[in-house]
């Protein structure tokens, strides 16, 4: 970011102008990245689903394995009529997809893809991503309420109950690596794991915490088996039932973007970040770092898809039982156990 500002100042722009230009470039490139990534992920999801169900999935559009299917879908969504329910609330209906998307989008600015390759190097990295992602719930409730439809409202209420509940185990599980590393900054996790090996192998509590975080992040992204807010067999399509066209596609973008953020946090906090091998790293050349990290992120996105197409959806009460009876207590056990290991000076399989 600072180097970008310096670059624009070098072009002869004044202080605030250079800053705005740098931010505009960052936001535009990030938007482009998320859009292209989401298109690819949707295509990947359809292919993964198809192969799990022993079919081919999209094969026609764009000749090679239907690679252009998502592009065609995006063009279709762009030209689709944008319907607003006449009985609903126009302003909130209009602004809800933006609120939902902004929450996840803002999380992207703190993700480091390589040393220095991030938009803002926040001291609060992990905490900021968790905090800003919680804004998304407000947008979903807005969408559900403004649609003036029972299905939408049911979906929104389920989403709120589920996401707010699963924030507790997710945040507690994230506290375990934070406790070991002693920092919120995402870059520090990469540096720590270069010396000590992947945190998931650092001590047994971190392994369990990684699992708890991954399960909770599935619920946070509304992915199956926790896709109750969408539950197409009962609620049409949940909180975005009334949406169409471009606004509908924003909810899709948000879902895939939040999968990316969750996978990025899992990869960076537990699975070594841009360190290739479980026993540490630091030798990887800088241009290789984003490749390693993004491969890991896509592996976790693949696992999310894999789970979606192999597990049945949980019932509402099972979702709540899972969160409060199993994940929250185990997350607390992990936190206390990891603190005990740190106090005794144990741990570190490879350090």
């Amino acid at each position: 970011m600072t180097s970008l500002i310096a670059f624009f100042e070098g072009l002869g722009l004044e202080g605030v102008l250079a800053l705005s230009a740098a931010y505009a470039l960052c936001i535009a490139s990030l938007l482009g990245f998320i859009t292209v990534y989401a298109m690819f992920a949707i295509w990947m999801e359809r292919k993964v689903a198809a192969h799990i169900q022993v079919r081919y999935g999209p094969m026609e559009t764009g000749a090679w394995h239907g690679w252009a299917q998502s592009v065609a879908d995006a063009v279709k969504l762009l030209f689709k009529e944008d319907l607003i329910p006449p009985e609903g609330n126009k302003f909130l209906f209009w602004i809800a997809p933006a609120v939902v998307f902004c929450g996840v989008f803002a999380g992207f600015i703190a993700i480091p893809f390589a040393e220095g390759m991030q938009i803002v190097d926040l001291h609060l990295g992990v905490f900021f991503i968790m905090a800003i992602a919680s804004v998304e719930v407000i947008g979903v409730i807005m969408a559900g309420w403004a649609s003036n439809s029972k299905y939408s409202l049911f979906g929104a209420v389920r989403e709120a109950a589920q996401v707010v509940s699963y924030e507790i185990p997710a945040a507690t599980a994230l506290l375990v690596p934070i406790l070991v590393v002693g920092s919120f900054r995402l870059g520090d996790f990469n540096a720590f794991q270069a010396d000590h090996g992947w945190l998931v192998l650092y001590n047994p509590f971190l392994t369990v915490a990684a699992l708890i975080y991954f399960i909770s992040s599935l619920a946070g992204c509304k992915r199956a088996p926790f896709d109750l807010p969408e539950a197409e067999s009962e609620l049409v399509s949940g909180f975005h039932t009334e949406y169409s066209g471009m606004r509908f596609s924003f909810f899709f973008l948000e879902e895939y973007a939040s999968m990316f953020v969750a996978a990025a946090l899992t990869a960076t906090l537990f699975f070594g970040g841009w360190n290739l091998f479980p026993w540490g790293g630091g030798w990887e050349p800088a241009p290789l770092a984003p490749v390693i990290l993004i491969s890991k992120i896509f592996f976790f996105i693949f696992v999310q898809m894999w789970l979606r197409w192999t597990l049945p959806r949980l019932r509402v009460d099972q979702v709540m039982a899972m969160g409060y009876k199993y994940l929250v207590p185990w997350a607390f056990v992990c936190l206390i156990g990891a603190a005990w290991f740190e106090y005794m000076g144990w741990g570190g399989l490879f350090s």
């Binding site: 202080g15 605030v16 800053l19 909130l92 926040l122 001291h123 609060l124 905490f127 900021f128 968790m130 905090a131 800003i132 992602a133 919680s134 804004v135 719930v137 407000i138 409730i141 807005m142 309420w145 409202l153 209420v157 709120a160 109950a161 707010v164 509940s165 924030e167 919120f184 019932r315 509402v316 009460d317 709540m320 039982a321 409060y324 009876k325």
Partner: protein
């Protein structure tokens, strides 16, 4: 730049606050409250209190207002209408009274300026988080208030579960499950009660 950020977040906060006070529909007021709290979180951030700002967003924007929204949405819209005139009259009166109470207590400026507690400037380069953490667990800092708050919250949690369970037992005796969920098995009802 700092001015620009300050006026942006202050504008969001003031706009949200006005919406809370003057909007006729209570659900809109809650969304206004979201904007106001978000603006205040941003103001903390511009003042250099990054941890406080993020906590504000995590707890108030993403947590407390969701519960408020539930409460407001479950009330009927007719009962939730507030007349504009009454708000216009009540806001200055309540504000004036609050100001008088504060002045009588200590004087507003002294409350803002000297809290009588440890105040630490954030060193550049590491944010405020390490200092806040150290103050929370050091006896010279806020260890006792921190512990008391933790115990209080635990008591509140246990109390909430107990109250919800008791109501659930009554509902079960009357032969119907708690509202809004299918009475499938005992575990389901218990978890609904915990969540209610």
């Amino acid at each position: 730049m700092a001015d620009f950020m300050f006026f942006t977040f202050a504008g969001i906060a003031v706009f949200g606050g006005l919406m809370v006070a003057f909007h006729r529909n209570v659900v809109h007021s809650v969304f206004g409250l979201v904007a106001a709290l978000f603006g205040v979180g941003g103001l903390y951030w511009t003042l250099g209190a990054d941890f406080l700002g993020a906590t504000q967003i995590l707890l108030y924007v993403g947590g407390v207002t969701v519960l408020l929204l539930f409460a407001v949405m479950l009330t009927t819209s007719d009962a939730s209408r507030v007349t504009l005139l009454r708000t216009l009259i009540m806001v200055p009166i309540v504000g004036f009274l609050a100001l008088k109470v504060l002045e009588a207590y200590r004087g507003v400026s002294s409350i803002v300026n000297d809290t009588g507690h440890v105040v630490v400037d954030a060193p550049a380069g590491s944010g405020t988080t390490p200092e806040i953490g150290n103050l929370f667990v050091s006896p010279e800092g806020y260890l006792l208030p921190f512990e008391v708050a933790a115990v209080l919250l635990l008591v509140v949690l246990v109390g909430a579960v107990t109250v919800a369970r008791q109501r659930d037992d009554v509902a079960a005796e009357e032969g119907r499950g708690p509202g809004g969920s299918k009475p499938t098995d005992d575990g389901a009802r218990e978890e609904d009660a915990v969540h209610a």
